[in-house]
């Protein structure tokens, strides 16, 4: 899932303080699961934002909250369309995709981000999320026994650890596992360490952030007049 965390209240306040009516829109998908922008967080951030506005003398700004099932899909934004007319600004508590989907759908409204989108990751333990995927567009997890060196190695090394690997930890911080230690441990347990006798080819970055925003098209799903958008 996409993992995000909230912006500080003063930062959000400064974005919206010159508007009159602000709709704070939560998202019921990834950011609900990572406790950053779901219904509960929308209520909390909305309350804190109203108080913050009052303290700087902008209590005239109306802040209401609502949460839709998924901000990154137009069909789910439909339920918001009628309501948005009553507001002059939207603050999205979705990921960057959600913010942009709202901005695209409501061109006449100011749209602001309430979260900082962090990464694609998993829930490691209660309240802890860790990055697992860099969305590079060219998955090589088969070659690295299910542990991604592009995401989890600070240097993105594809052929073994660097000299900063100490007792299974990365020199970047004591709390960061050395991805190559994990890869080697796993290869060893599968009796496949000899795979690394051969040099792995360099990553083909043309599938990553190369040539602008990426697009996935499934022609068999494209019905005439219904997409994909030009």
């Amino acid at each position: 899932m996409i993992v995000a965390d909230r912006k500080k209240i003063p930062e959000i306040r400064d974005m919206v303080k010159d508007h009159e009516r602000v709709l704070l829109v939560g998202c019921g998908t990834c950011v609900t699961v990572c406790l950053a922008g779901g219904e509960r967080e929308a209520g909390i951030i909305g309350s804190a934002l109203r108080m913050s506005l009052k303290i700087i003398g902008r209590e005239a700004v109306t802040v209401h909250e609502c949460t839709i099932e998924r901000q990154c899909e137009d069909a789910f934004i439909d339920v918001l369309a009628q309501r948005v007319g009553d507001y002059d600004a939207i603050c999205s508590l979705g990921c960057g995709a959600g913010v942009q989907a709202l901005a695209e759908r409501f061109p006449g409204k100011a749209v602001y981000p309430g979260l900082n989108t962090q990464f694609i990751g998993i829930l490691e333990s209660q309240g802890v999320w860790t990055e697992k995927c860099a969305a590079c567009g060219n998955c090589r997890l088969d070659q690295y026994f299910g542990i991604c060196p592009i995401t989890r190695c600070a240097k993105r090394q594809l052929n073994g650890p660097c000299g900063g690997s100490r007792a299974g930890k990365c020199e970047v911080s004591d709390g960061t596992d050395c991805a190559w230690q994990l890869i080697c441990d796993r290869a060893k347990s599968l009796d496949k360490l000899d795979v690394f006798d051969v040099l792995m080819p360099a990553q083909d970055w043309s599938t990553s952030n190369d040539g602008g925003a990426r697009k996935v098209v499934r022609e068999d799903q494209c019905i005439a007049g219904m997409g994909p958008k030009a």
């Binding site: 209240i9 509960r40 909390i44 804190a48 108080m51 913050s52 303290i55």
Partner: protein, 164 residues
Amino acid sequence: MKNNINHKPVILAFCCHYCAYAAADMAGSMRLQYPANVRVLRFPCTGKIEENHILAAFEQGVDGVMVAGCLEGGCHFLEGNLRARKRVERVKTFLSEIGVEQERLEMFNLSSAEGPRFAQIVGEMSERIAPLGPSPLRKNAQAMDVGLAAIERQTELAIQGGSK
């Protein structure tokens, strides 16, 4: 308004049914004196108290909020009071960000047999908040009464509904 020692702060006490609420009851039975400007809200457990319950209280203009739960290790629901403490700490960060003194919010632990301690912590909380003056979010008394009544209704509904 700050440093007004005559200021009588309005404090909302979120109390666990199994300890602080019973302790408040005992304090009453023992005819112990404590500040009258404290309003008590009963929860089945402090673990049921959400961040937005506390923030809503501040939004309605109360001067302080105290959350009173069972002694650590003694929660009727095992860890509700530990969760409550974490939530209180989180709300303090929100208060700090928006410019409200963190001292206006505190978590206490006590048992149902500690009526005198309930009276004592209410007194301590009142003394701590009074020098800060009224909350910067203070409303007039009538508006705050209406707001607090709404919070009481909402929390009662949330407890009955079990979701919020």
